[in-house]
């Protein structure tokens, strides 16, 4: 191993500078407020964990709920993205592959806030889905149920985010060496087995990157939980917005943000630890 590369440092510096100027520096003010109790004691502010205690007391359930929702969504996105990428790579019915390639990307172009609106009017009890199913005779109108709860949030996330990961994964799958796949197929391996044992290990890194980015994105989306589900528990972004809009309380909102970042960081770490182990040259 060489000593730290000066060129390497020079190459990342511009991006880091932008991050420092437009994010870390402004965040500094915010983070101070997360650890500050406003107007405590004799009118001055003092440092403390009050905001974190407040966040935990009021929103512990919401934090757990957020992790479950986003975790489940990430897992489903991973499965569907691999399935789509796998079919595009290994599919044998030509027109189906072409159709799938054309089909799967559409949700990518729909912003979250619009996806939430579409799903709200689609998955509701008297929404388009149930209406269509009952018109087709597949559903008794009386037994129709609404999906506008945690399921609606997961469905929206998976619908919107799967193409993102699938696009990355399919790109990587297209560039792997086909001879290993064909060798395995000639030895009688099923397509599913070839996918799981040959293809996925080779695109593992980009798959995880896509999932980490999806995880972060879903943690930060406000419109989906806000517009899909009015029930408690709700997701952390709704609580953050509520603290700010109802009380002007940036302290607790930032404490929640800090917790959200720690959760994201923990997930990203799983990927990075692997990267560190394999190591750059």
């Amino acid at each position: 191993m060489r000593s730290p590369s000066l060129i390497g440092l020079l190459l990342v510096t511009p991006a880091l500078l932008l991050l420092a100027a437009l994010f870390v520096y402004p965040l500094g003010f915010s983070l101070v407020s997360a650890f500050t109790v406003e107007g405590a004691g004799d009118g001055g502010d003092r440092f403390g964990l009050f905001n974190f205690v407040n966040a935990y007391e009021l929103y512990a359930t919401d934090i757990a709920f957020t992790v479950l929702i986003v975790g489940l969504s990430t897992a489903l996105i991973g499965i569907f993205a691999v399935a789509i990428g796998g079919y595009l790579t290994l599919g044998e019915v030509g027109f189906a592959v072409a159709l799938l390639r054309w089909l799967y990307r559409w949700p990518l172009f729909i912003p979250f806030i619009v996806a939430a609106q579409c799903m709200r009017t689609f998955l509701a009890k008297n929404g388009l889905m149930n209406n269509a199913l009952s018109a087709a005779g597949l559903l008794e109108p009386l037994s129709a149920q609404s999906f506008l709860d945690w399921r609606g949030i997961v469905i929206t996330f998976v619908w919107k985010q799967t193409p993102f990961v699938a696009l990355l994964v399919a790109g990587a799958m297209a560039s792997i060496d086909r001879s290993t796949i064909e060798a395995a197929r000639n030895l009688g391996a099923s397509r599913l087995r070839a996918l799981i044992e040959i293809v996925v290990p080779q695109v593992h890194a980009i798959l995880v990157v896509g999932l980490v980015l999806s995880f972060v994105t879903m943690m930060s989306v406000l419109s989906v939980p806000m517009m899909i589900s009015g029930n408690t528990p709700t997701m952390m972004t709704v609580d953050m917005a509520f603290r700010i809009n109802a009380y002007g309380d940036y302290g607790t909102a930032n404490a929640l943000g800090f917790i959200s970042y720690l959760l994201t960081g923990a997930v990203a770490w799983i990927y990075l630890r692997r990267g560190v182990r394999e190591g750059p040259p």
């Binding site: 709200r120 806000m226 009015g230 029930n231 109802a246």
Partner: protein, 381 residues
């Protein structure tokens, strides 16, 4: 490709410079609230003002519905204040009542009511007091907004007249009443404040002060009652979420802002058959305020704009006839400018007597926060 890109870049650079080069003075109006309010300024007030003020262009920024929209205006002004900017880029703003108080407390507004002719046409308490903050001089109401219960007469034969009736009705018709809790916007908050007014003896003190945190100790029955009530309701996602579920008939009844309700009807998203009822002992309403920031770039034009917007004629034609909203200035000044039909339609569902008896204000700011905290700790947990 590259050529195209450069041409585009030049175009955008030109467009970015354009306001500085053109002779036009731009009057920036920021408005919280629904798209209808934004369009009202763009299509109605803007052209009218430009006609009498050649060389002035009215530029409108909508900041989004609900208290988040007002919060966004507050944040933009406080950023400019903290940056020490000499001239702020918002000349006129339309904000909710609670935020009007905050803006005055933070010293972000200019006092202007004495300098405009229409200032004398407003005598309502809400023009001087915003949830406990003295705002006299700083604001003139644009219109008064009220929450009420919207219901579908197809599904509800006999609409409840009071909170107590409503509790009974929801027990008999579980999940047919829907509201948005307190995190999804102010219509749910308003329903909850009305609940406290109805179920405790503290309504008077909550609306007028003095503030005393120990008052909340007497709320446990009311909060337990609400928790039980919540078992029988459907939670809706937001102010718009309640209207959305009414749109598909998934709930039969729910609290809404009257002005939003009429917007949804006018845009074909609610049946014209739906009705409103302002239940007793009362639900809160609030005005939207016209304000002008302390360091507006064009303070004189800003005042003239507000003067136009609060003139009896514009209030009659623009606010009442166009939108069916309750006027901001005193109703007695605008009746002459209106057809009796429009006047009757304004009070079709909610009579002036209902409004006088059951139209409440929100609690003063400290009680407001105390009430929300109590909901979070005792009802939502």
């Amino acid at each position: 490709m590259k050529k195209l890109f450069l041409a585009g870049a030049a175009l955008v650079a030109g467009a970015a410079m354009a306001p500085a080069m053109a002779q036009d003075v731009v009057l920036n109006v920021a408005t919280a609230g629904s798209e209808n309010m934004v369009d009202y300024v763009i299509d109605y007030l803007g052209p009218m003002f430009e006609e009498t003020h050649p060389g002035v262009r009215v530029n409108v920024v909508g900041t989004g519905p609900g208290d988040a929209g007002s919060q966004a205006i507050f944040e933009k002004l406080s950023a400019q204040s903290a940056a020490g900017a000499a001239a702020w880029d918002i000349d006129v703003a339309v904000v909710h009542q609670k935020m009007g108080g905050n803006l005055v407390r933070e010293g972000l507004l200019a006092s202007y009511r004495d300098q405009v002719e229409t200032g004398a046409l407003v005598t309502s308490a809400a023009a001087d007091n915003a949830l406990g903050t003295d705002v006299s001089g700083y604001v003139i109401p644009m219109f008064h907004s009220q929450t009420a219960i919207a219901y579908n007469p197809l599904l509800v034969a006999d609409a409840p007249a009071t909170y107590a009736d409503l509790v009974e009705w929801t027990t008999a018709h579980p999940r047919q009443f829907g509201y948005n809790g307190i995190k999804g916007g102010m219509s749910g908050v308003s329903f909850y404040m009305g609940w406290l007014y109805a179920m405790t003896d503290d309504a008077g003190q909550m609306m007028a002060g003095p503030y005393d945190a120990s008052v909340a100790e007497g709320w446990s029955d009311a909060l337990d009652g609400l928790k039980a009530f919540n078992e029988n309701v459907t939670f809706t996602p937001g102010n718009a979420g309640t209207l959305d579920m009414l749109n598909r008939g998934e709930i039969a009844m729910g609290p809404v802002w009257v002005d939003m309700f009429y917007t949804w009807q006018a845009d074909g998203r609610l049946s014209p058959d739906l009705k409103l009822k302002l239940i007793g002992p009362g639900m809160p309403g609030q005005p939207m305020y016209y304000v002008t920031p302390a360091k507006a770039t064009n303070p004189d034009l800003a005042r003239e704009f507000i003067e136009l917007a609060t003139s009896p004629q514009v209030q009659a034609e623009g606010i009442v006839q166009r939108f069916n909203w309750y006027p901001g200035i005193d109703a007695s000044h605008i009746e002459d400018f209106m057809s009796p039909d429009a006047w009757a339609k304004l009070f079709a569902d909610v009579t002036p007597e209902d409004l006088a008896a059951n139209g409440k204000t929100f609690p003063i700011a400290e009680f407001f926060d105390l009430a929300l905290e109590n909901y979070e700790r005792h009802v939502a947990q």
